[in-house]
Symmetry: C2
Subunit: 680 residues, 2 copies
């Protein structure tokens, strides 16, 4: 007997690497389940749903001591053959419910996104999202009614869901009570039930029913930003993203930035309702858009996950955000929210569910939680800085031992507001800038124009677009280049002395500007523009520094820029300006919409919901406004890159200017005055 067991075939599943011995004849699906390898199945082993596909890897896997061969798996049987005829099964693929183990095997659970991928989507950060969605499709064959056993239709179905799928104590979405009879008869006593179970302490609930085999279910992952709403439509069964789209947040008509929207609520009796309606309407229209793009019916969407900043989070839930506009910035609800999609007026499947990630603090929202989940400072040992820059910068710093978070009031400068020639990223906007340190002459690139401004054909190409302004991200670059070329001092003063060397330095009242382009429109960077960027970057850096001090660290190992801003700026210039602390430049990465990636993770794996809920309770929140030291850090951070902090790693790759003192003491404003005085 022991002998026989030792001779049981050895089966290795890839890519999980889980392995075990199983008696000859064990279905491969059964072996996977016993080992905890996630292989989807809707039909419960009837070889009809095709979700449980696997592939045998042939060869001698000496490292694992396995010679794997297609001869070591049972031949294609009649059920599998029928499936392959009706539905087509790709070459080499087998249905693991029907194929059984006959000898040693290396089994690949396909990683592609078309069918049953355990690994379903490479997030921006190249991490893998394991699937374990909150909604599970279960096909069952139900006994017909029997006068001798007067259990109801629904109750007989529950019996089979327990027998075949192990779900006991099932709740039922009430809208199904009037439907179950028709559905069972239409399916000739076969039915697919969608069962929602979010947390282990929730009772599983039947949220949808379809006659017969229903082999697809979708979910929405959505990031509601102040400016933009972004949405993914994803197959909950394969993990495949079938459509992604975005739309403007229509609340912009009530106010560009968050605080003006809060003011609108405070000053208009029905302001809150109007804004809730507007954002829900936009989410609904975006749902239409991704459904059309993906060819998916709304009724096939069974789950949805949202992230948002605190004010959007509150407005989306119908909560008055006024309290968030004033100290102590009290959230009405900070924990994760779980409800039905219809509770937030979202018409998906009538039983569809909604989950909102928790907020971290009054200014650090569910979007920051999503980004944290996606980037995972709490999952690793290195010190990670995660920054999401908007009107407020949300900052998370830490590692698996300890994580802290704060928001810092960067203001709208990074978004191009308050910048004299700022404009949004559109054709005609300057997006890249270089300044020759010797001549102080610039060259630049314009959105919609292929050549740089100093390359042949630029003028002709730029005629179509015009040269209309500087886009949000380029403002970082131009100010950094001005600093590197000596146009401005470390304290941010445009050096009027340079006017002697270059006609690009123009007097502008009592200060000076840099003329970036002289055409139909004069595009200049003024002293005020530089000041606005300095204020914004000082706020961001001071917030980061505060968190570093809390953790007692002098440097960070790796930096993640989340959000659109991070995707467009060059990490080198961000560091030259001192937005972020010194770090190996290769370790500064833009991760795109990390908040949306976090939403996607929580959609595809309910374990990630528990992970972020638990993580948020452990994140220590720092309120910058309450930290007496913040003011000094802010002042130090007005200088470029910083008045007191060294940037050794940056200095190794970029030659930073010698510190040129145009004014003593406190940098910017004082410097300006001093210089003006010296010119009087």
């Amino acid at each position: 007997m022991t002998d026989a067991l030792e001779k049981d075939p050895l089966v290795l599943f890839m890519p999980s690497g889980k392995r075990g011995r199983f008696p000859v004849g064990t279905p491969v699906l059964e072996a996977a389940r016993q080992l905890g390898v996630y292989v989807e199945s809707v039909c419960g082993g009837r070889a009809t749903c095709g979700r449980c596909q696997i592939e045998v890897q042939e060869g001698n896997f000496a490292k694992h001591g396995i010679i794997s061969s297609n001869d070591h798996i049972s031949p294609v049987g009649p059920k599998e053959k029928r499936y392959a005829e009706v539905r087509t099964l790709p070459e080499g693929r087998r249905l693991s419910c029907s194929a059984s183990i006959q000898g040693d095997l290396v089994v690949d659970v396909p990683q592609d996104t078309v069918v049953n991928a355990q690994v379903v989507r490479k997030a921006a950060s190249d991490r893998v999202i394991e699937r374990n969605p909150a909604v599970h499709l279960c096909y069952v064959e139900v006994d017909e009614p029997d006068m001798h056993k007067p259990l109801g239709d629904l109750d007989r179905m529950k019996v089979m869901l327990e027998k075949d799928w192990g779900y006991s104590d099932l709740q039922v979405a009430p809208y199904l009570y009037p439907e179950v009879q028709k559905i069972l008869r239409k399916g000739n006593w076969t039915v697919t039930a969608a069962i929602h179970r979010d947390s282990p302490t929730s009772r599983p609930t039947i949220v949808a029913l379809w006659p017969g085999l229903h082999n697809e279910a979708y979910g929405l992952a959505c990031d509601i930003g102040s400016t933009t709403i972004a949405m993914h439509l994803v197959s909950l069964l394969s993990g495949r993203v079938v459509a992604s789209s975005g739309t403007s947040n229509p609340q912009i008509r009530f106010g560009e930035d968050l605080m003006s929207r809060v003011s609108y609520v405070m000053m208009n009796p029905d302001g809150r309702e109007a804004m809730t309606k507007a954002v829900r309407q936009a989410v609904s229209e975006l749902t239409d858009k991704v459904c059309a793009e993906g060819g998916v019916a709304r009724t096939d969407i069974l789950d949805s996950v949202f992230v948002a900043n605190p004010i959007m989070h509150h407005l989306f839930l119908g909560i008055d955000p006024t309290e968030l506009g004033q100290a102590p910035f009290a959230l009405a609800v900070s924990g994760a929210v779980s409800c039905e999609a219809k509770d937030i007026d979202l018409a998906l499947n009538p039983g569809a569910r909604t989950y909102l990630l928790p907020c971290i603090a009054g200014h650090v929202g569910a979007d920051a939680a999503g980004a944290t989940l996606a980037e995972g400072p709490h999952r690793q040992d290195r010190m990670m800085l995660l920054v999401d820059v908007g009107t407020n910068a949300e900052i998370v710093l830490g590692n698996s031992a300890r994580t802290v978070a704060a928001s810092s009031p960067t203001g709208p400068a990074f978004e191009g507001a308050e910048i004299s020639c700022g404009q949004r990223a559109a054709p005609g906007a300057i997006e890249r800038v270089r300044i020759d340190a010797a001549t102080l002459e610039p060259r630049f690139k314009v959105i919609g124009v292929e050549p740089w401004s100093d390359e042949p054909g630029f003028a002709e190409a730029a005629e179509k677009t015009g040269i209309t302004g500087i886009c949000g991200s380029a403002i970082i670059e131009v100010v950094a280049e001005m600093y590197l070329s000596g146009v401005i001092s470390a304290d941010g003063v445009v050096d009027g002395n340079m006017a002697e060397r270059s006609p690009r330095i123009l007097p502008n009242g009592r200060t000076f500007s840099y003329l970036l382009h002289d055409g139909a429109q004069k595009i200049t960077v003024t002293q005020n523009d530089v000041r606005a960027i300095q204020l914004a970057k000082a706020a961001l850096y001071a917030g980061i520094k505060l968190l570093m001090e809390k953790l007692g660290v002098d440097s960070v190992d790796t930096i993640r820029f989340a959000g659109a801003f991070g995707s467009f700026i060059d990490p080198k210039y961000a560091m030259v300006l001192g937005l972020i602390p010194d770090c190996d430049l290769a370790e500064v990465k833009a991760v795109g919409n990390a908040a949306g990636t976090g939403a996607l993770m929580a959609l595809l794996n309910r374990g990630h919901r528990r992970e972020i809920e638990e993580t948020v309770t452990r994140i220590e929140k720092i309120e910058t406004a309450l930290e007496p030291h913040f003011q000094q850090l802010f002042i130090d951070a007005m200088a470029m890159p910083n008045k007191v902090d060294p940037f050794p790693k940056l200095s190794a790759v970029v030659t930073l200017p010698e510190r040129k003192i145009l004014a003593d003491g406190d940098g910017g404003e004082g410097g300006g005055r001093r210089r003006r005085r010296s010119r009087d």
Copy 2:
């Protein structure tokens, strides 16, 4: 130390009889909780809700070895004094949260219905309903927002609900998200939360919130009958029934009996919707009525429990009942239903819940389950027969070892339909009848008339009402009296030979009638009337007998008549006619609306929900139509009281006529023919 413990005061709680020793200074409420004695408290020991009142019994309770005295409880302290001043505390009452144990005590937990009664309502059967409602009011004081601890308002409230009341992992009714902020501020950071937790496997859910202390919560218990809807409005805190009322089921306009309503659904495309709307509307109007009567706001109603026959159950839930009108009589839903009140269009508190008891079988509904719960055959060792007579009789028979149930198609005769002079119970209807066996002269009582028909003043009194017909229950009595006086034979044939003895026996075509009253209207009981009653009672008895045979018993120990019918008929006459098997007459009891009592029990104690859910799975359902033996039992039961079954206990108190054979063989119909032939 051991010595000290032995000298700890001994406290005995009445009426539970639970006792224990507690250190001097232990609050009485705490002692009660440790012993599992149910004492309500909303404020959590702050001496503000007044729900935890107790009374000290003074005296020497030798049996218990306790000398109890008001000196053995702490004197009234400042908090209790303040409560007594503001709210008034009845003489002798103490707040158990504030009063502490100082010596041996006998403590009475008041049984009255005004405050905090553990025993809250005597059901018709004199049993006691212990309280353990699914909704619990919990007052908490919530920390104010703190920038250093950015938990949301809701989340800080949850912290206190866990700390003070032990509720962890709380869910929240989504409508509260936008409300919680305002409510907490309005209550100056104090709040009362209503927490719903039905079964131990459900997550507790916050279903309602009020600023400050909210000291009352109500529930509805409702029985939806085909003809009448009955409702109780009950305090969930004290158990007091504050209003009870009834209304006609407006579905009557779609059809008098259940089957004609099913036909209406089958023949009208929007018939199901119309009937669902009608019954929900009636429940809503009845809710208004009990709320007005009890002076209760709808928003203070947090829970509701419904019972109904299977067709009403389905229509109320919006389920097409067509399947119930044809074999195999398949219920769409048989198990208990738990949902929100708003799911069935019932506007109570927005978070209010609804529970429907399970159905036993396609013809044995949640009403029968309610009656079973109320009367409890499954809770006792004696063999109990529980009968609810309507168009279908629902029959439950059994004891704690085994219980069986069936329905039997009695038809509408017992409700007065198909009876030539039948009418509903209203002034002018004959309600009691006696027939002199010697003279065959009747005397009777008329609804709305005080004297019997042979007493002085009857004629004058009856002038106001008239004498218009025989009400449903009296038809049992008159047929039984006709049998006892020899007007009809044991086979139910009106004896034409009697016409020679009395002018009351009138020929009526080929058969004879009995003239009960000769006035403005001739009120007669025809041969067809007797046949209708015989058919109905034979169906009922045969169903009962079938269940007795299933259990292998020859007799039952006790009989319960549920429903209006049972309240009006005389058990003796029911037995004389053979509606029910032989039994000690003192053991035949009418229990009124037992189904409604069952709903009330399930409302006041969620343990009763589990009890009936579990009981229903154990009840064996017998489908009379499928039992070959049923036909013979039915034929035997056509005779009075029965062709083959003896009635020894009945015979001991009522002289049953000698068996008079007017026709051989199979009783009724054959007898009639034979007699007619003999007169030809």
